[in-house]
Point group: C2
Chain length 699, copies 2
């Protein structure tokens, strides 16, 4: 101890500058490749600058706002974005919303409830004349109408068919009567209901002549658009504080015999005539489209939020120093130079790239598929329609798995990055605590993750069973072919070589994941069939196999992510290919090590090969570490978007963190010194042993 | 769709009542067993009632308080607890704090900073006369003095030896000069500094006659105790909002040449004389004691918080219904009846019991060890001292691993339980969002988890190397014996039988985990030696092996948890033994399936045996599900402590959730209708194409 000397202090700015000296790839080119071209990058940069310069869009003080201030600030920004949304090209609006989803996720939700959910319901479920009617009333531009989306109820979330709200047709007046029969029928979590919306797209049981036709959508006016007074029979309350996204005013709504015109039911699919005839649609699956879009967009969201988290954690790790391995008095070591810190962050970096590239490919596929379906129109028969519906089902199932595992992956990335900041991760001003709270809801809404994984797993089991009967496999499940042909026995594919190059090549990793995914699906089939053999119903046999079904969905989704990642690497510009290849290998290898049991059980890798793979993970971390900061630069977020003093481009973390904290929390006298602290410090212990009793003296 | 009918609604109260009809064990007896006897349970119940009846202790409205209100509310409770802490027996005070740590973790920290950290530093590091002096000044009872704990700095957390604050001895005045030389030397995260503390135990480099003796502790007065004005040279600021625990006022402190008497250095261990002689202690390890106590207490905290999370999630799952597997119109299925939901919650229940019983045993062992050390006094030589120091080292390492993996386990339990509530988990009023934010810091403070796991791993590697040289193994590592004796080759232990009984018996599971832990430690030894073989220094070889070292610490800690759990099961009253045995089996089996790769690689289980083990996990979940609600009852938390309408004992979740939300958020007119919403709705698009230019007309 006697010789201990305080460590020398290194300048944080030069600590990060040296990280940028020799990137292995052209940073700007990677940004273009991630964004989808220079034009997109330029537009995003223009939007980031516009937001940064607008005082309304200040976000660094968010932690210090009260709930009321938070909501008012958010509302004040709605108008500007609504005007831009109608005035500017759609592509630019979408990019703006992408950036806003990272900068201010709660605002993004408040805005999205109107444009995405309420107007989206009109677009997807209204007839052309209905859509025209609502657009003329200002439903697109928020001129006259602000909308919310009334699906979830207090007692009913995932099971939309089980909603209790009713819309009963009254032939006499040509109206529907919308009613909440019970407390659990109360519409709950309705974003925008508490403070913002004039109208609501209400999901309710359609009841005509005493018969229930299931859940349909109805536009119900909530408030007078001039006075904002609640309409007769409508009661609304505020759900108050949430875990995150307090920018949006979620509320509850109860309907008490509220009458709306028949034409306020959205009738693109099911129609109700004046005389009470109900005409049901030929092609119910088309309604899947909107669901898929929401899920696909959450893969992008996961990627975009993960980019920010890793920018903060990686840059801080390149500046923060702790412990010295050299002589006393030497400069402490950067966190990023510790192998364990590389292990904490760099596999998450690889996951983020997997999500970036998968998001891009599934978005493109989705757009293509929607084009095909739109061309088909209502034509529900024929080979083209069959093919499209098959693809729709596949996309529906795959997007369910992707939504679940990517949102979980991103939530984990945020928290791991936050923990990697040490104590400073617990400050509200370093960005990731709030990012976690804001993001967490992504695992629940638009389909609870666990339920989505089971949907995906059910599709995988059903597809395997169909394939066994000779039906062709969709392209993304072609890996099942070899396994299936062997009459249900497990795939015997193995890794041929033992060298690090052989066990960790992208071809080997793709084969490994395909083989293990096939295995997992066949295990779920086995459990499902065991359930049937026990005499369970089909549904109960699926429940019985749910653990292995969830697992099959996980293995399939990781396999899908790896394949999409590799496909993008293959198409990438040559100068980017080495670093992207290494990231793809790290994604596949690290995930395989995390699930080594499955790879050993399937026999693809031996125990020795798994050890070699672990060695490759170490190697890849060491290599990617050299490019860690350049990779965050390539994400292309400005300091404004990163919104964390620890994630600054210039590395000047301590000065700017101190400045931010002190400017937001100016020193003031302790407000309760006189009332609470002084009396505490100056109190004496009053003790009371009671009067002396006569009877005691007599003894 | 035509035949869809709304599902029948079941009464939540009878849904939960039926769960309590046939528990397999006497609930009350399990409560006594968990608490450590009827007397403890009775005391806890008395304390819970006292808190519930005290209006100051209302906690259901916490989500709606501002930061300023939150802090003032917390301060208002300090006095009552300070009086009780001195007036009532220590055991009762400890139980009260245990309950408070669950009811109001932020307050617990505010109170604990004075009693645990500041006063704890005096107890642990002051000489008897120093301790007497500070107690006379009111340091124990907060009469005259409120304390905070000044260790962490803006630029220095885990590396205490690297702190920059200096305390330089001035022989001329017999004073120390305490100084923050740089911005990064600013004391940071100091709980109580912003608003509460008059004094601080400051960690600073002791510099005497130009020589640095390393980090020691000094009591520095921050504020005048009568006026609360800052002392000369002391600057303090507020760190503002945090992820959680906003009840405590964390601040920063900068010292500018602050002079304190020499006697304000705590001199139990190192002493400085008037003439500047520095006398260093013989037995430096004794300072470990306080560290260990903090870690051990976090195992209890993890268990106590996990109990609350599981009470909420399990009771809600027994009431909440979603989807119907029967005929249309039939009652929906309880969440807890879905196998996947059992898989989500019941392994977490098993983990919670593992932590409960481990916490109890390590606390008892710690007390015993401290007693031995205290009897030894400063005697640093001889067999007894050697033995005690060896045990201290072992306890230090094991407690490091336990602190890390139990806090991570609990954080995961909270979030999994929250997600299992679906959308309602995102409300601030259902309890688990805040529980997560409050608990998260446990993974960082009192030793960053990752660093602690590496400390534990380093001890394991060193112990294995010592054992290879013939040194005896500590009892908790006796499982290394077989592996070591084979000269470093891997343990060849295997599971003998293939039946579910054989693969999942407690004896098999203990052997399985011991074998795999031994394996993991030897792998870390192998990597460490590979580092040495590469010519790395010892420290760098440890860094090189950090991934496998962390893994070894995980495997050892899980093995330790399983062994402690089983030891408690073996001692438990006969009527409790069947359910506790099943829970211990589920803990061991589920954790093994989660890490199946390791069990397959070590060869303990074959692939077929792992499949059998998975089948056992399914079976155990189905069995424990029958007792799920009774198990939460046995945790013994009143509705006040559970503090979530979804976790109510009587199952009346919807009515009480609605009541709470509406009472805390009464309906009011939208505050910004006139200023923001009306102008939005009524705006027209002003377009401006500019004046017609003459030059254009000329064309």
């Amino acid at each position: 101890m006697g010789s201990a000397t305080i460590s020398a202090v290194a300048d944080p700015k030069s600590s990060i500058a040296e990280e940028r000296k020799t990137p292995s790839f052209p940073i700007r080119e990677l940004t273009y490749w991630i964004d989808g071209g220079k034009r997109v990058t330029d537009t995003k940069e223009r939007i980031m600058l516009e937001l940064e310069r607008d005082p309304l869009w200040k976000v660094s003080d968010h932690p210090n706002l009260t709930l009321a201030e938070t909501r008012e600030r958010a509302m004040s920004k709605v108008r500007r974005l609504a005007d831009l949304a109608t005035a500017r090209p759609l592509e630019e609006t979408m990019l703006r919303m992408t950036i806003v989803s990272v900068v201010d996720p709660g605002f993004w939700t408040r805005f999205g409830v109107h444009f995405g959910l309420f107007f989206g319901a009109l677009q997807g479920q209204a007839t052309p004349s209905q859509l025209g009617y609502w657009m003329e009333k200002g439903a697109l531009s928020m001129q006259g109408i602000t909308g919310c989306f009334g699906m979830t109820e207090l007692g009913h979330g995932s099971n939309v068919a089980g909603l209790e709200t009713t819309a009963t047709f009254d032939e006499a007046t040509d109206e529907f009567v919308v009613h909440s029969p019970t407390l659990t029928a109360t519409k709950w979590w309705i974003g925008g209901a508490a403070h913002t919306a004039t109208h609501c797209s209400v999901y309710a049981q359609l009841i005509v002549k005493g018969k229930n036709y299931g859940t349909k959508t109805f536009v119900v006016q909530l408030r007078d658009t001039k006075t904002f007074q609640l309409m007769p029979g409508v009661n609304i309350g505020d759900l108050g504080k949430k875990m995150g996204r307090d920018q949006i005013d979620n509320g509850w709504i109860r309907f008490t015999h509220v009458r709306i015109p028949r034409s306020h039911m959205l009738m693109k699919h099911t129609k109700v005539t004046h005389s009470g005839d109900v005409i049901e649609p030929a092609l119910a699956q088309l309604a899947y489209g909107a669901l898929i879009q929401g899920r696909v967009s959450m893969v992008s969201d996961s990627a975009n939020v993960a980019k920010r988290a890793l920018t903060i954690a990686t840059r801080y790790a390149s500046v923060r120093r702790q412990f010295s391995s050299g002589a006393p008095g030497s400069v402490e070591t950067k966190l990023i130079d510790y192998p364990i810190h590389q292990h904490r962050l760099l596999p998450l970096m690889a996951q983020t790239f997997a999500m970036i590239f998968t998001a891009r490919e599934v978005s493109a596929n989705y757009e293509k598929l929607m084009g095909v379906l739109s061309d088909l129109g209502n034509q529900s028969k024929g080979a083209a329609a069959d093919e499209a519906i098959k693809e729709l089902k596949e996309t529906h199932a795959t997007s369910a798995g992707l939504k679940a595992f990517c949102t979980w992956m991103c939530l984990n990335i945020i928290d791991q990055c936050r923990q990697s900041l040490g104590g400073h991760g617990y400050s509200a001003y370093t960005g990731l605590a709030q990012a976690y709270s804001d993001f967490a809801v992504h695992c629940t809404w638009e389909g609870d993750n666990t339920i989505l994984t089971l949907q995906c797993g059910r599709y995988l089991v059903a597809t395997a069973l169909d394939a066994r009967k000779g039906m062709p496999l969709p392209a993304n499940l072609s890996y099942l072919k070899a396994a299936i042909s062997k009459d249900g026995s497990l795939s015997a594919k193995t890794c041929k070589g033992n060298s690090a190059e052989q066990v960790s090549s992208l071809d080997t990793l793709k084969a490994a994941w395909s083989s293990v995914a096939a295995n997992a699906i066949l295990n779920a089939v086995r459990d499902f069939e065991a359930g049937l053999a026990k005499g369970l119903s089909k549904d109960n046999a699926y429940e019985f196999s749910s653990a292995s079904r969830l697992h099959a969905a996980r293995m399939h989704t990781y396999t899908y992510l790896l394949h999409r990642f590799v496909a993008q690497v293959d198409q990438s510009p040559a100068p980017l290919r080495p670093i992207l290849t290494l990231l793809a290998q790290l994604f596949g290898a690290h995930s395989a090590v995390q699930h080594s049991g499955e790879f050993l059980q399937s026999g693809f890798y031996s125990g020795a090969q798994i050890e070699t793979l672990k060695g490759f993970v170490n190697f890849a971390c060491t290599e990617i570490r050299k490019d860690a900061v350049p990779l965050t630069d390539a994400f292309g977020y400005t300091d404004y978007v990163v919104n964390s003093p620890l994630g600054r481009y210039d590395g000047d973390v301590y000065e700017k963190y101190f400045e931010l904290v002190t400017s937001l929390n100016p020193t003031k006298p302790v407000p309760y010194f006189d009332s609470l602290i002084k009396p505490l410090l100056e109190r004496t212990n009053e003790t009371d042993s009671g009067p002396e009793l006569e009877i005691d003296q007599e003894e």
